[in-house]
């Protein structure tokens, strides 16, 4: 029983980090029809800038805010410079965003040096609670809580605000939104910046979780996020939460019970979903 709870918390924490990364990806794909392979780069920049801010300010709150700000600014630059010229052309998007992903990774080495960096857990969130035989690592619980808060905030924005309505409608049919006279390009930019901010948040939270950060971490983690987007349904926010939790839990349980399969399980999940429900668990497109 204790083991199950521990595996559950592990899986949920990993799932939440993937969710934060996938949430931006799914909205960017669903609304803007853009395949953004540079998303992992924004994630890695979030991790590095967060560790840097933490080192300088000694405040984890400021580190989180600094990382998000870095992500949002990078998102702005990426959308304007890299994405805008290739709207509507998937092949070009894949090529240029993959290229930009490499640029982002290499720039990390230029700015922060080529070596791995150690990331500390803030003292307040270090350690664990023991309840009976169940060990709850504080930082993991913290990640889970942040994940649910972010989900709640974004659901609120999507369901209850004017821009949320435009985004939801845009995911269904962006030509029609434009026909109404709404400047959807501007909404694209906002969504891209928000997605980049979420990726950076995921990165800064990931750093103490894994203990070390390195320039290629974005590439590795982004693959999981892509799997989540496919499983959850492209453009669906709740879908990406559910799928991320699923992927997180599957990884956590498999790693314990069938370690040999722990890397394959996500691909298997995706294959099963693609066979039986190719549109993903949720559908956002109209």
């Amino acid at each position: 029983m204790e083991l199950l709870i521990n595996l559950l918390i592990n899986g949920l924490a990993t799932g939440m980090l993937i969710f934060l990364l996938a949430a931006g990806l799914t909205l960017i794909f669903g609304l803007m029809d853009v395949l953004n392979f540079a998303h992992g780069g924004l994630f890695a920049w979030g991790a590095f800038s967060g560790v840097w801010f933490y080192g300088v300010t000694n405040s984890f709150t400021l580190a989180i805010l600094g990382a998000i700000l870095t992500g949002v600014i990078l998102g702005f630059i990426t959308e304007k410079l890299i994405i805008t010229p290739v709207y509507g052309n998937h092949v070009q998007q894949i090529l240029i965003t993959l290229g930009f992903m490499i640029v982002l990774s290499e720039m990390l080495k230029v700015v922060f040096g080529p070596n791995q960096l150690a990331a500390k857990t803030p003292p307040l969130l270090s350690g664990s609670w023991e309840i009976g035989d169940v060990i709850i690592i504080k930082y993991r619980l913290f990640i889970i809580i942040i994940g649910f808060i972010v989900f709640g905030v974004f659901q609120f924005i999507l369901k209850r605000t004017k821009i949320g309505l435009v985004v939801r409608a845009g995911v269904m049919n962006k030509e029609m939104v434009q026909a109404l006279g709404i400047n959807i390009k501007q909404v694209f930019l906002y969504v891209f910046m928000a997605g980049a901010g979420l990726a950076a948040l995921s990165g800064v939270l990931m750093a103490p979780y894994s203990g070390v950060i390195y320039a290629e971490m974005g590439m590795e983690f982004a693959i999981l996020a892509f799997i989540v987007v496919v499983i959850g349904g492209m453009g669906s926010f709740p879908g990406s939460l559910l799928a991320a939790i699923l992927v997180g839990l599957a990884g956590s349980f498999m790693a314990y019970y069938v370690p040999a399969l722990s890397l394959a399980v996500n691909m298997m999940l995706m294959a099963i979903v693609l066979i039986f429900r190719p549109q993903g668990l949720f559908t956002a497109k109209g």
Partner: protein, 255 residues
């Protein structure tokens, strides 16, 4: 008085085919004009040229005397030309009221206030509700658009078009694909819009009784050309028009 909408030698060619051929027409403000013609006469293409979905090969469209050449459909909507769509084109997974609200809010520019909570936008909601009343859809406000019947979807489209609050309305076959029982309700809606006397309306329709009932004037398109333009009575009495509809010209052109 300057007509609200005018075209000058409006022409569009697709390859060798001239779909709209040198059409000159004008419509005064708050006028109700219908456009008729056999299938393939270029009626919808003519609308697309006015609304900016298609770019004219030559000629121009003028709104209140101002050339619209080079203006996007979005820019034209903002200026005051709103267009309904022939294909049912609403947001399926939004509720009926959300669909209308989206159209209402589209009039505003996107700014920071965009992020405010909807409850503070009571007037938006009230406007949307009022429009649903006009198109007789109040009882379906919280249904998802995908659950509506075809006729109800057409009503929703009209509500969204009205929400754009444009001076000119381009209605492209609002009764297309409707069951006979649904037609009178749409007719009532259009009559109601006409009676408010605030809008200039251009209507493409095949149902002649409806056209005779509503129109101040009728123009006839045939093979992309303007065949006739006049009051309903003049059009009915026009021999060329009768000829065209009876098939005489068809034969000549198709032979």
């Amino acid at each position: 008085m300057e007509p609200i909408l005018r075209t000058e030698n409006l022409t569009i060619k697709f390859g060798g085919q001239t779909a709209v051929d040198n059409v000159n027409f004008e419509v005064p403000e708050k006028h109700f004009k219908s456009i008729i013609g056999p299938n393939g006469a270029g009626k919808t293409t003519f609308f697309n040229l006015i609304s900016g979905e298609l770019k004219a090969t030559s000629g121009d469209v003028f709104f209140r005397g101002e050339s619209l050449s080079g203006k996007s459909s979005v820019a034209r909507t903002r200026k005051g030309i709103g267009r309904s769509f022939q294909i049912t084109n609403v947001f399926p997974n939004l509720t009926v009221i959300e669909n209308v609200r989206l159209a209402v809010q589209s009039k505003e520019k996107i700014r920071y206030q965009f992020f405010r909570h909807f409850a503070s936008y009571k007037d938006l909601h009230i406007q949307a509700e009022r429009l649903l009343e006009i198109v007789l859809l109040t009882s379906k406000a919280n249904a998802f658009a995908t659950q509506l019947s075809h006729g109800e979807k057409r009503k929703l489209e009209i509500a969204m078009l009205l929400a754009l609050d444009t001076e000119v309305l381009l209605l492209d076959e609002p009764t297309a694909g409707m069951s006979l029982e649904e037609v009178p309700a749409i007719l009532d809606v259009i009559k109601q819009i006409k009676q408010t006397g605030e809008r200039t309306i251009l209507l493409i329709e095949h149902k002649m009784d409806m056209i005779m009932d509503l129109s101040d004037s009728i123009m006839v398109l045939f093979n992309g050309r303007l065949l006739a333009d006049g009051t309903p009575k003049e059009i009915m009495d026009n021999e060329t028009v009768q000829h065209a509809y009876l098939g005489g010209l068809y034969d000549e052109h198709l032979a």
